[in-house]
Symmetry: C2
Subunit: 392 residues, 2 copies
């Protein structure tokens, strides 16, 4: 897999990270610009908290894992200063969006703001040892666990008890977040949470009859024949499966590992668009019309997470189907998403594979999925040839 | 325009209304199914309040204006019974969604639920004289006016005062709703509201430099260089312009009428997709990437409201450009949206003009825009040849 290792590493270090270093620092107010045109020009100055926290994470993680690039560290520190100063309300909950100067724009209605803030601060703590980062990451993590049964708080518009569904997103993020914060929250907390999360994802949200994981289920795990209950997000399943593979690896659990690979392959086959290639964004499990008008689009994060998942699946199990899928996804993504002219990758393609928006970053796309995927893939594939990762 | 009159009337009475009569009555629980597949099969049983109120309106209005079809009246009455029994919370505010049996699913976060409920009940009152309908329509209208400065109430996620924008939707709907409820709320109320609404739409939201109306502006009417402030919804402008034309007609205000035609033509030219035809759903006034992933899609309501607007523009002013646009829109919509095989029209096309979803009704599309447009167009065009509508 040497060819891939070199190409993915070069893409990360020569094409993707330079784009963010060059274009995303807000030297006037702190924090990061994420709304960037194809060529890197800032087209909107709002600061979306998901992406502020994620960029702190990416910059810190790469400093820690790839090279001690002081620019990355400085950017992570300045981003953290901005969010620590401006990002929380009086309860310590994280706003969804701030304006350029840091004034709150949108109230804390999304607990994922909190997830990515703590993930970023936890990662920065690893490279600086500054107590403040650990403290806020820890406090935020505690609040996430307190809020997890009603993550939207007073902004929850569901009428109580008519239709109680639970969503797959939060357990999925927690499976990854707990590992990211183990150095802060401790191994006991992590192990307990892992037990819960594996159960939720692999038994409650997973549906044996279809072999897929649903976005929402009844509280008892049964299928809900509603818009929310019928929704399948193939990219979400595939991303969750590599989070789960890391847990299977940690526990040396070969049965769990094989199950993850099986579900990921099933989700890829299910989500693949035979007409135009690429992975569809949403499908309805009963083939009814989905609510999401963007259902047929091809999104960057779906495709890069699928690459990560197949790379890990192959590295952990040697399953040849993962290799075949990895190569197929690699051809599609580098042809359609990568942009060698200006750096970074396109985020949103139409069904036909043409850029629907030419932005490199926006409200939801920042310095996160692409660099994380490129880093993860090349480091995983480096170990494949000597079978270093195969679960015993 | 005789050819159009006959075709639009036949489309309404032979293709569109029979589809709703046949497929949308919920005989078990009352109210209407709106989630209907291409062939009319129910694919979801949730009851979305916008569409329940709108269908009561359409059925009552057609009974009143077109023919005394008892089935339409019976359906309007049963729909009204369902929403009166189940639709409101303890403040009299209308839920956003109910389940099939009428239990509340989604809290009253959208004041448009209230707008369409009162519009439906007001229309039904015209054909039944039942006081209850007038009473609830009146109470609801009062609550709408009370809530108009913060229509989302406690579900408003905007942080106070950082960026105060106001939206174009509510004044636009009020301009139409007040006329619909004049027999209930009285002419003084309507005249006062019309003064305000004409000012808001034609002076505050209208931007002289572009000749377009923005979706959101600062409280003083100035442009906001933000995602919300840059957003243009051409269909919205065009629909609003025929609401305004009706006000201009009511007042015999030729200057206002000509201004409406001018803005509508400008919005059509601005929104028209030169590559694939049809009207784009959203654009960014500064050509920056919009947030809306569905920006390039072609929606039924945009196109039928444009037909109405051009028919009215031509009837009211004789402007030949309106006739040319009407004919161009007529060719596009009948080719791409109408479905002679199963009745009603497709709702959502991709940019290329192919059905993106094959549903005939869903969470947002019901028995409203298509029948209202077909009825309005044929009755307006009937009067064109004798120039009956031309403003003096």
């Amino acid at each position: 897999m040497k060819e891939f290792v070199d190409r993915y590493k070069a893409e990360l270090l020569e094409n993707v990270m330079p784009f963010w270093v060059k274009n995303s620092n807000d030297n006037a107010h702190g924090g990061f610009f994420t709304c960037l045109e194809r060529d890197g020009r800032v087209f909107d100055t709002d600061k979306f908290m998901w992406l502020q926290g994620r960029q702190v994470w990416t910059m810190s993680m790469l400093y820690n894992q790839v090279e001690q690039n002081e620019t990355w560290k400085d950017m992570a520190i300045q981003g953290a200063s901005f969010i620590l100063k401006n990002g929380r309300d009086e309860n310590g909950d994280w706003y969804f969006a701030l304006d350029q100067a840091g004034k709150p724009l949108v109230q804390p209605h999304s607990i994922f703001s909190d997830c990515f803030a703590s993930m970023g601060l936890g990662s920065l703590y690893k490279i600086t040892g500054e107590d403040q980062y650990a403290q806020v990451a820890h406090d935020t993590f505690k609040r996430i666990l307190e809020r997890q049964t009603n993550p939207k708080g007073k902004y929850n518009k569901a009428y109580p008890d008519t239709r109680s569904l639970k969503g797959f997103s939060l357990p999925m993020i927690l499976s990854n977040l707990s590992l990211e914060l183990e150095h802060i929250v401790g191994t006991d907390t992590v192990e307990n949470l892992i037990d819960q999360v594996i159960h939720e994802v692999m038994e409650v949200f997973y549906q044996a009859d279809t072999g897929l994981i649903m976005e929402s289920v009844h509280l008892d795990g049964s299928f809900s024949d509603t818009f929310e209950g019928r929704l399948v997000n193939p990219g979400h399943i595939i991303e969750a499966m590599w989070f789960m593979m890391d847990l299977a690896d940690r526990r040396g659990d070969r049965t769990l590992m094989n199950k993850c690979v099986e579900i990921a392959l099933r989700a890829l086959e299910y989500g693949w668009d035979d007409k135009y290639e690429g992975i569809l964004y949403f499908k309805d499990i009963l083939n009814r019309p989905p609510q999401q008008l963007e259902w047929d689009q091809k999104l960057w994060w779906v495709h890069v997470e699928a690459l990560v998942c197949m790379a890990k699946g192959y590295a952990y199990t040697g399953n040849e189907k993962c290799k075949v899928w990895f190569e197929k996804l690699d051809r599609y993504t580098f042809k359609h998403f990568a942009d060698s002219a200006y750096g970074e990758w396109f985020g949103y393609l139409n069904r036909q594979g043409e850029p629907l928006l030419t932005l490199k970053g926006g409200k939801w796309k920042g310095c996160f999925h692409v660099p994380r995927a490129l880093y993860t893939i090349y480091t995983v594939l480096e170990k494949v040839d000597d079978k270093k990762l195969l679960v015993k």
